[in-house]
């Protein structure tokens, strides 16, 4: 009791200070505003004005008429859903999730194969003079298989030499390196490929220069299934 009386005597002069009271007021206001914002966020309802208008428009109709309208609407929705689902054709498609580094082979809407892959690292390389730079990113969007090749030979581009600190050769044969891209390569445009890798321990990480790397078994399945025009979606 004596301690609390002494404590109260110490606190009271502090509260008498205008600055302390102003600070407490600001803190209190901030807590109040935050609470209001938080509860508005949690309890906000989505707008539904157009639904209210439709309800008012037809609520006066006879029940039999309304039930018939509902039945017609349901069959229209069924037909539209079937039309939309037919867009997922029975032919194969490839999906690449670049955030999770996973690749999926689909037949229509069914996933027939999924596996780890590696996609672009996102790192940037600039040559020493600062004239040219490359961003090693796997592009997002829609692509299609443009061609496929077995026993591909890698023609090293300029960035591969710059990255290693080597001088860039003038002749094309000096750029060729065999047996680094696996047994097959599937092209989907702008110099990007789905191909194999020697670095299988890195599969599942974003470590490539933009191409999509997969292991030998997955690569073989993709090569055998995909045809020219097979869609590829990367996201």
């Amino acid at each position: 009791m004596l301690g609390s009386k002494v404590g109260l005597k110490r606190v009271t002069p502090a509260l008498a200070d205008v600055r302390v009271r102003a600070l407490l007021g600001v803190l209190g206001a901030a807590v109040l505003v935050s609470a209001v914002v938080f509860f508005r966020l949690v309890f906000r309802r989505p707008p539904a004005e157009s639904q209210v208008e439709v309800v008012r428009e037809i609520a006066h109709l006879d029940a039999k008429v309304m039930r018939k309208q509902i039945s017609l609407m349901e069959s229209r929705i069924r037909r539209l859903t079937e039309k939309r689902d037919r867009l997922l054709q029975a032919s194969p498609a490839i999906l690449v999730d670049s955030a999770e580094n996973k690749i999926y082979l689909l037949q229509g809407s069914k996933v027939v194969m999924q596996d780890k892959c590696s996609t672009g690292s996102g790192l940037e390389l600039t040559d020493r003079r600062g004239n040219r730079s490359w961003t090693f990113e796997t592009p997002r969007g829609y692509f299609s298989v443009l061609g496929k090749v077995s026993n591909p030979v890698w023609l090293r581009p300029d960035w591969a030499f710059i990255e290693e600190g080597e001088s860039i050769p003038k002749d094309r044969p000096s750029r060729a390196v065999a047996d680094v891209l696996g047994d097959y390569a599937i092209a989907f445009g702008d110099g990007y490929f789905i191909h194999g890798t020697l670095y299988t321990r890195m599969l599942g990480s974003s470590v490539t220069h933009g191409c999509i790397r997969v292991d030998d078994e997955t690569l073989k399945k993709l090569y055998q299934t995909a045809e020219r025009g097979t869609p590829i979606w990367i996201y």
Binding site: V31, S34, A35, V37, F38, L41, R44, P46, P47, A48, S50, Q51, V54, V55, I58, A59, H60, D62, A63, M66, R67, I70, M73, E74, R76, I77, L80, T81, R84, D85, L87, L88, L95, D97, S98, A99, S121, G122, L123, E124, L125, T126, R128, P139, R140, G141, Y142, S144, I162, E163, E164, G165, Y199, M202, S205, S206, V207, P231, W233, Y235
Partner: protein, 225 residues
């Protein structure tokens, strides 16, 4: 005090009237069933309009975004297949322009650019791969607040809210208040004639916002419902 008697009587009268069950009138449908049917019809009509609009875009194989404000979902889709889906925590609409249902995104502008890690020339591929494996770049490094610039000067603003489960409620509340205030100030600073014609602002969880930015292609059709 003198009013208590009449007030009590009015209350008792009101209770008496509300307790009696009305008898079912013959002929026309009771109004609550009609309202139920009307609501069902309204839901179906909305769904039908959404499917029609989506089918028109989904015939193109390019990915598209579906922003459904009433069910509070944003989905990246291709040919009707959902590639990624996110919940919309909050949404606002600004501007005087007429609302369109299909927008074409031409650019995406983060409020703050994320800086890419660099490779030193001569470091070698192994060093680059090791650097990449340390996850110096990825969805969690993406900007969380960005604008999707669309044709006809319309904008979809994506803003992030910190709602991770492990942060305590007090810091979440303060972060929310700060972010909304900062966004309001940013909007207030823009001159009136530079403001977008029509703007939809969507608030997502922070990682969802970053993952959405990561997943977007360069050009995109956006369907708003």
């Amino acid at each position: 005090m003198p009013l208590i008697g009449p007030l009590l009587q009015l209350t008792l009268l009101g209770l008496l009237f509300s307790c009696g069950k009305p008898s079912a009138p013959p002929g026309p449908l009771p109004s609550d069933e009609a309202e139920q049917l009307a609501k069902r019809y309204a839901e179906l009509r909305r769904l039908e309009q959404a499917l029609s609009a989506e089918y028109a875009i989904a015939r193109d194989p390019a990915p598209y975004l579906v922003v459904d404000l009433s069910s509070r979902r944003i989905e990246l889709k291709a040919r009707g297949r959902i590639l990624r889906g996110f919940s919309i925590l909050d949404s606002k609409i600004y501007g005087d322009g007429a609302r369109r249902s299909v927008w074409t995104m031409t650019d995406r502008r983060p409020l703050e650019e994320a800086e890419r890690p660099k490779i030193t020339p001569g470091a070698g591929e192994e060093a680059a791969a090791e650097a990449a494996k340390r996850a110096l770049w990825g969805p969690s490094h993406m900007p969380a607040d960005f604008d999707l610039i669309c044709e006809e000067e319309d904008v979809i603003q994506i803003r992030a809210l910190p709602v991770e489960p492990f942060r305590n409620p007090i810091t979440i509340w303060i972060s929310l208040a700060y972010r909304r205030s900062a966004d309001w100030y940013r909007r207030w600073r823009v001159p009136r004639d530079s403001r977008p014609r029509y703007c939809i602002q969507l608030w997502l969880a922070e990682y969802d916002s970053q993952l959405l930015f990561w997943s977007l292609p360069k050009r995109l059709n956006i369907l708003t419902l």
